[in-house]
Symmetry: C2
Subunit: 286 residues, 2 copies
DNA sequence: TTGTGTGAAACGATTCACAGCT
DNA sequence: AGCTGTGAATCGTTTCACACAA
């Protein structure tokens, strides 16, 4: 801390809040749709509805970009489309490479909306020699050996990793060494990268687990609601013994058994599926 | 809407913060890896590093689950794996349907890690009659007509939408009517769903746009650093000299020059690629 | 002595509510 | 009369820093 500015120096310096940046693409999509229907202006209320946020948030977001609206009227659709595109850097185009052409990589390569905006798939790269030369989405797959050359010749700064988890870290290192500074990672691993490199993660299994959590809670509440006064229906999360997992049990599992002294190794082991749980997904990570 | 308990009743009642929930799967993955290497205990410091977060955050997160650690020692790996799995609802299994078996849907169906945890693909559904019966990932694709039957017979509560954007809203409505209460949406649209239904979105194009934003900023900073005080170093084609936009522009006195009159239609039109920008991706949404 | 668990401070994002422009 | 733009209030998350248990 005391050491001057620590990692990620002044990156956040002049700035649009991260949460706002993450919503700009959403607004842009809604605006593009309006633009296609030749709608000339929108109110914050309408646009917010189309983007699935509330209008106060949208107005605040736009206020970070400048004053692009007209009081009493709304926003000029075309003008906003342009301003947001520019702010996001979509007025220039970004060559992108996809590394790992398995099921997912191929799906990504075929994704239309990819090239629709400023993005252009510059190359498809895979480690399997058998893939080399094979056309995927009308483009020949190239071998990993040429990764560095491809990156530099095409001026690629954004890489998409769709390899198995085990290969991801190494691939990211090669990409970065070759000049890539932004990575979209579909492999289920935490990538460690140097400062100045941005990584965004897309992880199917994490998303499902989050849904499962809420789903389970719904079931618990339902049961609690239906099942009258149960000891710890909504109990305090008190540090004490079992209370803290009321919702968990849901359908009939005995809550008592669930909690045990932090020494119950046996139960814990039993709980894990004995199956081929491998951390590395077959070929399609996400 | 405001009838009695407003939307999302007491869902958040006794609660683990959402941000914490979103990190539990990350911890779980790191712990599973340790477990496989038969590591008996970890400190918050080590585990945090493996999960890519800082240790204070991790300890705070775990504190919401209960006191599962041992002071002076650390956390018992197996025990924590079990507790987190249980908290996330992964000790039961969740039948899932995937709707839209295009490139992406097929990739998802083939995803190994899917079934690895509590999730099981109960059915693959597609609207194309030509797909019906065809095996994907060792499973016959079924026709949309049978969607309701499939959902109820299998007790499915989680649905994955991998259809083109145009079909997503309708598919979500049918899923929900049939009993699904959690949706993972890969189609690039905002789904509107009733209260009590959870939706999570995975959107490739949004992720790329966020990266592009940061990428552009990096380029700008670099140029600014290298090339003295150049007005529009960041290649903004527009007159928007908005370089220093002072966070908040707080002190009134808007840098008027930065913004041209909200009437510049021409520029806006020019900015949009004339190409086939269609909002609906070919077959693979994400 | 070590490393967890947690109040309290700091920070960031969202929402409120209204002044001010059109 | 209407709708944006934005200070101020609120809420949620992260970080700090240290008491306390092993």
């Amino acid at each position: 801390m005391a050491t001057g500015r620590t990692h990620r120096p002044a990156t956040r310096s002049r700035g649009i809040p991260e949460a706002t940046v993450a919503r700009l693409p959403l607004y842009l999509r809604a605006l593009t749709a309006l633009s296609e229907r030749s709608v000339p202006t929108v109110s914050s209320e309408e646009l917010a509805a189309a983007a699935g946020v509330n209008s106060a948030k949208l107005r605040k977001d736009f206020s970070y970009l400048g004053s692009y609206g007209t009081r009493g009227v709304g926003y000029d659709v075309e003008y906003l489309v342009y301003q947001i595109s520019r702010e996001l850097g979509l007025t220039q185009d970004w060559p992108v490479v996809i590394v790992g052409i398995g099921n997912l990589g191929a799906a990504l390569a075929n994704y239309g909306g990819f090239s629709a905006r400023g993005f252009r798939v510059a190359a498809l790269i895979d480690a399997d020699p058998a893939m080399a030369g094979k056309p995927v989405a009308g483009m020949p797959v190239q071998h990993t050996d040429d990764l560095e050359k491809i990156i530099s010749e095409n001026g690629v700064s954004i890489g998409v990793i769709a390899t198995p988890a085990g290969a991801a870290q190494q691939v990211s290192e090669r990409l970065i060494a070759a000049g890539v500074t932004s990575i979209l990672n579909f492999a289920p691993t935490v990538l460690s990268v140097p400062d100045g490199v941005d990584v965004r993660k897309v992880d199917l299994s994490i998303e499902l687990q989050i849904l499962a959590f809420h789903e389970q809670r719904k079931a618990g509440e339902e049961a609690a609601a239906a099942g009258s006064a149960d000891a710890d229906a909504d109990g305090a999360p008190d540090a004490g013994a079992g209370a803290s997992d009321g919702a968990g049990a849901g359908t009939g599992a005995a809550p008592a058994a669930a909690l045990m002294p932090p020494a119950g190794r046996a139960a814990a082991a039993a709980a894990r599926k004995g199956g081929p749980d491998g951390d590395v997904p077959a070929v399609m990570p996400a």
